[in-house]
């Protein structure tokens, strides 16, 4: 490789990552701004974090969001894992293409359509809107993401272990919990995290399906941003960014370690006489 090209490569990587990360870094820096303005630096201060902790509406919204994200991600992981099993293990059955269509469609459908259609469903069945309707809506699109993530894991692994267990008379449900689930666990956990963060982020679907008393954090941030930009929102955003970043890095390190020890075990098993 000649030097010119590698200089070009280094520059494009540096410029590309600067573009991806500078806005977030600037947002974090200005959350520590003494001044009310988010564009003029007035000295270091943590007063916006203190102010944020005294903003009861904001804390309530954060609590609602965490509860919605936790319950919907958990239900979505159960349903999505079953959905992945159906796609990867159940072979052909009547209505299979409709099923896979329903799994993939929410991934590409605009949020406004998903939100509108779910709201119209809740109106049609006379369901009062609030915490539970948002949670059901988030579960529905979350399970589709989980199903796709877990399915790719199911397709990738060796089926002979499952077959051996079944041949030896292990019932299917037990085989799933003893053999399949431990093997696909990294995919299931990744699916849960994806469903959790997607629920944490969602503004549009929550705005359609929510009711009085269940304002989520993105809705709160959105309405405040429309009134004007303040360092307090920067402080809230900073905390969210830090939480998600730490979560993703820890999760990826843990899975890497698990993979590493699994590979080591396999190698030792192969080397044993």
């Amino acid at each position: 490789m000649n030097r010119g090209a590698s200089w070009f490569n280094v520059t494009s990587i540096v410029v590309g990552f600067a573009f991806l990360y500078l806005p977030i870094v600037i947002l974090v820096i200005f959350s520590f701004n003494e001044s009310r303005l988010v564009t003029v630096w007035g000295g270091f201060s943590t007063k916006w974090y203190v102010e944020m902790l005294h903003n009861k509406q904001l804390l309530d919204a954060a609590w609602v969001t965490l509860r919605v994200a936790f319950t919907s991600a958990t239900v979505a992981t159960v349903l999505g894992t079953i959905g992945a099993l159906v796609l990867a293990r159940m072979g052909r059955f009547r209505g299979r293409s409709l099923f896979s269509g329903m799994i993939y469609a929410p991934l590409v459908m605009p949020d406004v359509i998903l939100g509108l259609s779910l709201l119209l469903l809740f109106v049609a069945i006379n369901q009062d809107r609030g915490f539970w309707t948002v949670m059901l809506a988030h579960t529905t699109f979350g399970m589709c993401y989980v199903a796709v993530v877990v399915q790719s894991r199911l397709v990738g692994f060796d089926r002979s272990l499952e077959e051996a267990a079944m041949d030896l008379g292990c019932p299917p449900v037990k085989t799933f919990f003893l053999i399949t689930l431990p093997l696909i666990l990294p995919g299931v956990l990744a699916g849960w995290m994806l469903a959790f963060t997607l629920s944490l982020d969602d503004l549009v679907i929550a705005s359609f399906t929510t009711g009085p008393g269940a304002t989520t954090l993105p809705m709160k941030i959105y309405s405040q941003v429309r009134l004007g930009v303040t360092p307090e929102i920067n402080a809230v955003c900073t905390i969210l960014v830090v939480l998600v970043t730490v979560g993703v890095i820890v999760a990826s390190l843990v899975t890497k370690r698990r993979e590493f020890s699994r590979l080591r075990d396999e190698r030792m098993a192969a080397a044993a006489p």
Binding site: I26, L203, V241
Partner: protein, 308 residues
């Protein structure tokens, strides 16, 4: 024999339970709501709760459904063609999404290329760094640009300080801000498929071209670009399809004359409270998106078959 049959029956029941649970959930929370959207798009707006007519009372059975169907009309769809706000919104959404996809490709290609040529021990970290912003909130990433793009924002301060410009550029609340927002938010979707194809590329082809006296830029156009075409197509679809229906970016970064259909639907629903027209807008938007979605799936299938 009967024990065998009983066990086989239990297994079959188990199989149908496993299929049935997620199937029923998706039917009820995905397909049925969509049928309701179609039904309401054929209804008439009225001042009531719910604000449309006719309503179907399932307790009354078929006669109520028959009555409702006889009252259906395509008035809302005719209205969409008569008022130029709607077709202008559709066209402008497609245009904004198209331009943004092109810019994302131009920004993403060098980055993906640089990553694919980086030392192999660095590549997993670089991929992780591209994915990481995708996990942080979409809303926050769009919000971050407001402080940068404002008239008295950091970008203008920086350019004025450099002396490149004498008066601040007006970017926020124009289509330019929407382009920047879409490119920024969807860049990972472009970079990852591009990186995947560029990393697999056989480097000896470029060396052979160089040895035979082909200038690097020509080798790039005749070898690298055609070989990375699957990545270019996949990335472009992944940016274009969600960008067409985008709401948050045009609403927060765009101006009052930025027309995008997601925003039009939102206003129609929340401000004008016209549920039938917003349902019709949603149905047409989905029909428009079916074309790129089908093209994308065909392309993905072709790629998978070739990999086999």
């Amino acid at each position: 024999m009967s024990r065998f049959l009983a066990r086989a029956g239990k297994r079959l029941a188990g199989r149908w339970a496993v299929i049935g649970i997620p199937y029923a959930w998706l039917l009820f929370f995905f397909l049925v709501p969509f049928l309701i959207v179609i039904k309401i798009s054929l209804s008439e707006v009225t001042i009531a709760i719910p604000p449309y007519l006719p309503t179907i009372d399932l307790a009354e059975g078929w006669s109520s459904i028959r009555d409702a169907i006889s009252q259906f009309s395509f008035e809302n769809y005719i209205w969409l063609t008569e008022d130029d706000l709607y077709w202008k919104s559709y066209l402008s959404s497609i245009q904004i999404a198209g331009i943004s996809t092109l810019i994302t490709l131009l920004v993403g290609y060098p980055l993906a290329y640089g990553m694919a040529r980086a030392p192999s021990q660095w590549r997993p970290t670089l991929v992780m760094l591209v994915i990481l912003p995708f996990w942080t909130s979409f809303l926050i990433r769009v919000y971050a640009w407001i402080g940068i793009l404002k008239n008295e924002g950091l970008l203008n301060q920086f350019l004025l300080w450099l002396g490149v410009i004498d008066d601040p550029l007006i970017i926020l609340n124009t289509n330019w801000a929407v382009y920047i927002g879409i490119v920024y938010s969807y860049l990972p979707f472009m970079v990852l498929p591009l990186y995947a194809t560029l990393e697999k590329m056989d480097h000896s082809l470029l060396e052979a071209a160089e040895d035979l006296g082909c200038p690097p830029w020509k080798a790039f156009w005749q070898i690298t670009v055609p070989l990375s075409l699957p990545g270019i197509l996949a990335g472009s679809f992944l940016v274009f399809i969600p960008a067409v229906g985008e709401f948050v970016i045009p609403d927060l970064l765009g101006g009052s004359n930025t027309l995008m259909i997601g925003k039009t639907l939102w206003v129609e629903f929340f401000s004008n409270r016209d549920w039938p027209v917003s349902s019709a807008v949603a149905v047409i938007l989905l029909l428009i998106l079916v074309v790129p979605i089908v093209l994308f799936q065909n392309q993905q299938q072709k790629m998978q078959e070739r990999d086999k």
